[in-house]
């Protein structure tokens, strides 16, 4: 029985249509090279992407869901950040 476990990596894939890298899932691998190889086999069997990033899962710092309200609620009240807050006369046309 293997004593030590293979570390976990998070996989990000950039699709061909020019979008940013997006989280696809995770793989286990002993090092970065193997993580890339495994990510290719597990997450791109049907031309899903043109580029892969792998990041050790332990290296990710995430926001705390318990602080969700404190972090994100203030944006809800700032309606002046949206274009619809401003009035442009109809005669001006599309802006």
């Amino acid at each position: 029985m293997t004593e030590k476990h293979w570390p976990l990596w998070e996989v990000f894939i950039r699709t061909r249509n020019g979008m940013a890298h997006r989280h696809a899932g995770s793989v286990h691998a002993v090092d970065a090279k193997m993580a890339l190889q495994n990510a290719r086999d597990v997450y791109t069997r049907r031309g899903e992407g043109l580029s892969i990033w792998v990041v050790p899962s332990a290296a990710i710092t995430a926001s705390d869901p318990a602080e969700q309200d404190m972090l994100f609620e203030p944006t809800a009240s700032k309606i002046y950040r949206h274009p619809s807050f401003y009035e442009v006369p109809e005669e001006v046309g599309h802006m």
Partner: protein
């Protein structure tokens, strides 16, 4: 590919934190997704670990009956397709293990549970693949039943599971069409080939209906799983949907469903079918199906014989790390 509602009893633990639990239920009711770091009732977490890992184990064990025919596929075209399908099942198992791991259980623990016989997997994989037609039936019916089960799971309340299911469902459609095409070729072939197709259908039909799990009147999970939106339809509802979709496909092939009670009910628009042999279902789930022991033996052997590879890969990675660190020190 395959999830199956199995009849293991959930301990009814009293709500430890009724207030949080009420808030949790409000989020579920509002169709909000639950993510791994969010607070969740312990029973929700336990139910999901069990369901997702059973699902993952089913994918992995499910590679065995089909793997049996890779070297004997009748043509190169069939062989590459079957290889790709079996590889997909392996991939599905990996997506699902990763989803289960987000709930705080390690991959090794999950694999150990399977190998120790503590975790279950779909009963269907304990049946043997005797002829090439079985590969057709597995794609057409086993994957077809899996799709019925899995499409609602794409909307499951637990985010990582739902996202894994979306990927899986996209890939599953190839599997089913691949199987149906094999059946179509056999059904249009010689008399012997057609008989082989019919024989495979006869042997697999009832075990496939069992894939939807126990009848609603006997299923202990349905209520709470529906409330938590892990499940969206009951076992019997999904089984009926599957029969309705499949009977016309069998007729198109010119094959007969091995159920004398099968008949179309004009009034409801549903195909009525006979009673599943639940004794057989219980027997197979309990470990006494035709291939249970062989499947477990094969998985254990693969795991044990792969141990040196896992250890060597770790040792090699460690050696390289040390070497790089030493080179860095020398350069400084």
């Amino acid at each position: 590919m395959y999830t199956q509602a199995l009849n293991t009893r959930e301990d009814a633990t009293p709500a430890a934190d009724p207030e949080r639990e009420a808030r949790f239920q409000t989020r579920i009711d509002a169709e909000s997704r639950i993510e791994p770091n969010d607070w969740m009732p312990e029973a929700y977490q336990r139910t999901l670990i069990r369901q997702i890992s059973q699902h993952a184990h089913s994918e992995i064990v499910g590679m065995l009956p089909e793997g049996n025919w890779i070297t004997r596929a009748p043509s190169l075209k069939r062989k590459v397709a079957l290889l790709a399908k079996v590889q997909d099942e392996g991939g599905h198992g990996l997506y699902l293990y990763a989803a289960a791991e987000t709930l705080g259980i390690s991959r090794e623990e999950l694999v150990d549970q399977l190998l120790a016989g503590k975790a279950k997997y779909a009963s269907i994989f304990n049946y043997p693949t005797l002829t090439w037609a079985d590969i057709g039936v597995i794609g057409w019916l086993v994957d077809g039943a899996a799709i019925m089960n899995q499409i609602p799971l794409c909307r499951c309340s637990f985010g990582p599971y739902a996202r894994a299911m979306i990927r899986i469902c996209k890939e599953e459609s190839f599997h089913q069409r691949q199987g149906y095409e094999i059946m179509l070729t056999l059904a249009r072939g010689t008399r012997e080939q057609k008989a082989m197709a019919q024989d495979a259908l006869n042997r697999w039909w009832w075990p496939v209906l069992m894939m939807f799990g126990p009848s609603d009147k006997d299923s202990q999970h349905t209520d709470v799983s529906m409330r938590w939106k892990i499940k969206r339809f009951t076992n019997d509802e999904l089984r009926q949907k599957f029969v309705d979709a499949t009977v016309p496909q069998a007729h198109y092939l010119g094959l007969e469903i091995p159920d004398p009670a099968l008949e179309f009910d004009e009034a409801s628009g549903h195909w009525r079918f006979g009673e599943v042999d639940w004794e057989e279902f219980k027997r197979v789930i309990a470990g006494n199906g035709p291939c249970n022991r062989e499947r477990m033996r094969t998985r254990r052997r693969a795991h044990e014989e792969g141990a040196w590879v896992r250890e060597a890969a770790l040792a090699y990675a460690e050696k390289r790390r040390q070497r790089e660190a030493a080179m860095q020190v020398a350069a400084e």
